[in-house]
Amino acid sequence: MTDLKEYFNIALRNIRTRLLRSWLTILGIIIGVFLIISLLSLSEGLKMTVDQQLQALGGEMVMIVPGEDFISSMMFGGTKLQAEDIEAIQKADGVDTVISYSYIGTIARYEGESKQIAIAGLGPWREALEIFEVFQGWSLREGRWPSKGNQVLIGQQVANKIFAEEVEIGSEIIIKGRKFETTGILNSLGSQQDDSMVYMDIDVYQDVTGEKRGTAAYAMAKLVDGADENEVAESIEESLKKTRKRRLGADEADFSVITSEKMGELAGNILGIIQIVIIGFASIAIVVGGIGITNSMFTSVRERTREIGVMKAIGATNSAILSIFLIEAGIIGILGGVGGLILGSALAKGIDYYAQMNPSFYFTATVAPWMIVFALLFSFSVGCLAGFFPARQAAKLKPVDALRRYE
């Protein structure tokens, strides 16, 4: 142990005498680890944001989306649930209330200014509001819940950001030539998209947009108390299949019934892919840093070949020389790791802080403990690995050859 301590001192001395070069190498690692940490913390933050939104869906709700592929129909719309489908859902065991939901992008005018927004129709209106209030966590920042057909609720973005003038309670907003009264402004719903909507009764929505009455882009079923979401999902599926078969004669299930559990899985898959891509990029950064260490160690070994010869001549074993150089490379790796960790965490904290100050910025970054352990272990092993080959090469030299170099 005492000799290891001594080797550590020697290694430290070597780093200090080549201060600038050592710092440049360390900087290479810092950037690599910084990239890893910031990318990972952002992806971790993304995961947390998605998890939070999924929780808002809750265990008491099941979503029914038309189309074979859930993702594409969510994104591009297209097929709609028909009135018969809604009825079928309503008839399924364990379903308490069915809420229809449709949305479309359109132009809204406020105080003479026209802007692109989205409008969403919910129905039946009163039940929808009640359910959304309890299960989706909707709450009013200002005003009251609308009751009449021409009254609308607006999201936070619509109120504050979209129009030059802030939209006030009781003011008039014109959509597709119809005048609506803003009666309530919602608190943030946790996503930019949801906050940029104007919400209204689905009947009014269908009048305005010309959508066929009784249809919906998707539906949400609130379960009766104590029902199991998976069982209810199954019974909804059965019921829907039956009506569809009768109506279209087709047997295929071109709709998806999504429970919160399934949604979680789905989001998990997507996030998994994102994370793999992120880790891929981060690995490139680390490899570049590792090459930096290797390069620096090779140079260091080459310019000190003579010193190595001297050390061998006065009795240093190969393993002693290897240890000194490995410790040197390890120190460089660890310092780079710590530096990158500090910078990466600072960035994550910065983003987190910014997100708290600006609720409309739906993004957080989290540095998980495993990332710290990973970054330190990783940078240390990259350092050691990068130092190993030049060090071994140096240790294996015949002393006379090492001494003769650069004479």
């Binding site: 005492t2 200090r16 009795g315 006379v400």
Partner: protein
């Protein structure tokens, strides 16, 4: 690029007995340094054998070789070869680090030897802050740190002026006389060779005995 094989030493046979003070003389390129490196386990013959304490060095494992270099042998180089990052004391302590001597003992011994070579006040100086003569004295102290049986010096005065060179040789001779250590010194300077008890003359990789035999003869007569 092809390598041209050069035989630095040919048909050479030399025996050095414990406690001897041998000077190896010869002009530049005569092979004297190669001979010394082989005695010091720094180089190995392609043919032929080198025995150190009765053991063939070519057959020794690396661990034992480093043990030999560190414990049995002490080196003094022409270019001093101190580690530039370590101060005088640390340079002298380094061979003892490799022999796993505990810190306190190491320090005391190193300070003691540095005192003997007249560097008591300079122990914390970096090599760059020392003069050539002082550096070589640090190197001497380092060679003696592990109390070796054989001290090998390759042109120890080659980079020094004559006055400093004499001082170094006197220190070496002093160690030889007081502690009975075997000394092998390579030099091309006859004045330095005078300090030795035996002189081996080497030319084109072979011992040309005359001078040496004469000297040996002289010593024999002396006894």
């Amino acid at each position: 690029m092809g390598k041209i094989e050069v035989h630095a030493l040919r048909g050479l046979s030399l025996e050095i007995s414990p406690g001897a003070f041998v000077a190896i003389m010869g002009s530049s390129g005569s092979g004297k340094s190669t001979l010394l490196n082989m005695i010091g386990c720094l180089d190995f013959p392609t043919k032929g054998k080198v025995y150190l304490k009765g053991k063939n060095i070519a057959e020794m494992p690396e661990s034992q070789l480093s043990q030999f270099r560190g414990k049995i042998l002490g080196f003094v180089f022409q270019e001093f070869n101190l580690l530039p990052n370590l101060n005088a004391l640390e340079n002298v302590m380094l061979p003892m680090v490799f022999q796993k001597v505990p810190l306190a003992e190491r320090k005391e011994k190193a300070q003691n030897i540095l005192g003997k070579v007249g560097l008591k006040g300079r122990v914390h100086h970096q090599p760059s802050e020392l003069s050539g003569g002082e550096r070589q004295r640090v190197a001497l102290a380092r060679a003696f740190a592990n109390d070796p049986e054989v001290v090998i010096a390759d042109e120890p005065t080659g980079n020094l002026d004559s006055v400093t060179g004499r001082m170094i040789m006197e220190t070496l001779t002093d160690f030889h006389k007081k502690q009975g250590k075997t000394m092998v010194v390579v030099t091309h300077d006859p004045k330095i060779a005078q300090y030795a008890e035996e002189i081996v003359n080497i030319q084109d990789g072979q011992i040309v005995g005359n001078h040496a035999t004469a000297k040996e003869y002289l010593w024999k007569n002396h006894d």
